[in-house]
């Protein structure tokens, strides 16, 4: 653990609370297993001493800002998480002056599960090109020199090369395991519809059956709704209790959007996602 970095986060958090700049801090603390981290909300200055940051801090805390609308909150943000900040700013879901961003330089996050941390960096971290958060008010730990691999989407290319029948069989098997716990949706910073299509009754898009066909419809609509919006935090895949490789879908759509529109979500707070814009010249004539 980088104690100097942690001390900087704690000092800043304590100051912000003492001065009343924010109502609360959203950061990380040690989990009950003593090994991994969990989200932590500090509202009183002494609670700032519980804050930590290390290679197990995998959660994207930006999601929690949506629960705290109207309150001024500080949030600990890794470089990757900052893309979610940009997404939500862009989509008008958070107000910049209501958020104090404690950015952290990040050496990469390792694979973790309950009571376990590996020595291996997460796949998304191995190809992460961001040395510091894209947006912040205070940077703890400074910039990290990173030697990231280039994102080649090699696994996506492999999946694309499979026959349609094989791909269908693969996803039917994966979605067959889905228990519709909606953890993928609940953890996603891009999922914030007041009524999710999965729960809408009129019109009824998808039924409540936890069964292959309806699971497939749920997962397909979920991932398409995130096309050009997914910021690649991979929280959906991390939380899935039945190990559905959701990142394959998300990254396939990311790759397509990148190729078609030269766009990646969350890199720029001003540029709206391709599917949220419409230019007059894009209008098609009848039958075109």
């Amino acid at each position: 653990m980088d104690m100097e970095l942690i001390q900087q986060i704690r000092d800043k958090a304590r100051n912000l609370l003492e001065e009343g700049t924010v109502e609360g801090i959203i950061g990380y603390e040690r989990a009950s297993d003593g090994v991994t981290a969990r989200p932590f909300f500090a509202y009183e200055p002494p609670a700032a001493e519980r804050l930590i940051f290390d290679e197990t801090c995998t959660h994207n805390l930006v999601k929690y800002l949506l629960d705290k609308k109207g309150k001024k909150m500080a949030v600990v943000v890794k470089p990757c998480d900052s893309r979610a900040i940009n997404l939500l700013l862009n989509e008008g879901q958070i107000e910049r002056d209501k958020v104090f961003i404690i950015g952290v330089g990040c050496p990469g996050i390792v694979e973790t599960s309950w009571n376990y941390k590996s020595e291996t960096l997460q796949k998304r971290c191995r190809s992460c090109q961001l040395s510091s958060p894209l947006v912040y008010d205070f940077l703890a730990g400074g910039e990290f020199e990173r030697q990231a691999e280039e994102e080649t989407y090699s696994d996506i290319a492999e999946a694309e090369a499979e026959s349609l029948a094989n791909r269908r069989e693969f996803w039917q098997e994966q979605f067959g395991r889905c228990i519709r716990c909606y953890a993928c949706r609940q953890v996603c910073p891009g999922c914030y519809c007041p009524v999710c299509f999965a729960e809408q009754l009129e019109p009824l898009w998808v039924g409540i059956r936890i069964a292959p066909e309806e699971n497939e419809l749920w997962q397909t609509m979920r991932s398409f709704h995130l096309a050009g919006r997914c910021v690649g935090c991979n929280e959906c895949e991390r939380v899935c209790p039945v190990d559905i490789p959701l990142s394959l879908l998300n990254r396939k759509l990311e790759k397509d959007v990148k190729e078609l529109f030269a766009f990646q979500a969350g890199l720029d707070p001003e540029e709206p996602p391709p599917f949220a814009t419409f230019k007059k010249e894009e209008k098609l004539e009848f039958g075109e």
Partner: protein, 332 residues
Amino acid sequence: MNLFFSKDDLSRWLDSLLLERTVVAPVRVQELTMFQPISKVGEIAFDYDYTTLSPKGWFLPPSETLFSVQRDDGQVELVPTLVERDAILFGLHPCDARGIALMDKPFLQEPGDALYRDRRSRTALIGLACRQVRPECFCTSMGSAPDDPSDVDILLTEVEDGYIVQVVTEKGKALLPQGLVEYKGEVPTPPKLQVVPVKEVISTIKELFNDPYWEQLADRCLHCNICAYVCPTCYCFDMRDYSDKGKVERVRSWESCQSSGFSLTAGGYDPRTTKGERLRQRFYHKFLYFPEQFQDVACVGCGRCVRDCPVNIDIREVISDLKQLMEAKSGS
């Protein structure tokens, strides 16, 4: 008197059971272990330590059709779902068996749930004692134990060269082959587990209904349904009618008190609108409402919610927090 199965005996016996019954057992699915119907004994993961989902799904499937209604030439016919075969639920650990015993209370209480009752009466439970426990296990605090035979028909305990066979019920006895030898060796001592002070909490939890603790704890809760769906004792469900070309099906699916629409009533009133109220419901149902109705705590200490919660809401920690809150209250 304990009997003995060699590993080959056990395998042969399961083979014979497979001829006439559905056998549901722990099976490896990629990196996971899940209870599934098997087609041959070789599929069973005898050495599993835990399954992602509890075996409750055999009795209360994630989704099932309760009955269907068909309309044909002006005639309306109601077709109930029938349980076709006898079954064996093999290899469940004592905590999961207790989970089923607890589910029996609401589902078998008169008038009872017909489909649940039929599956339950046609399924025998063959338990497997835990020779090892995991750090998140706390079954002994919840009325069970790694070697508890109370809620199964037969309990097997693995020893070096086979399995000790403990016959618990007549239903179990009827399944076993004749001529099993008596086991005269030593019965292994079960592993020790951490103690979670649940008794202290049950008697006082009522007083913490309006405590700010719940909203604080819920700050990090995502309100997904993982805890409820992996839990061996959570049994809430939703129902919907599906209609298609003259046929209507009534479908029941798992649902949980953590989802936002769960307590929404017709007319738009929702008694539990905040995150804290929803999260509190989970613990109040386990430690207050269920015990009030059925005398038992609705938790078996299997540790699944501890392991799978994406934000580490740890039921053991909640119990000890509640105990401390009560102590602070009574001390002041």
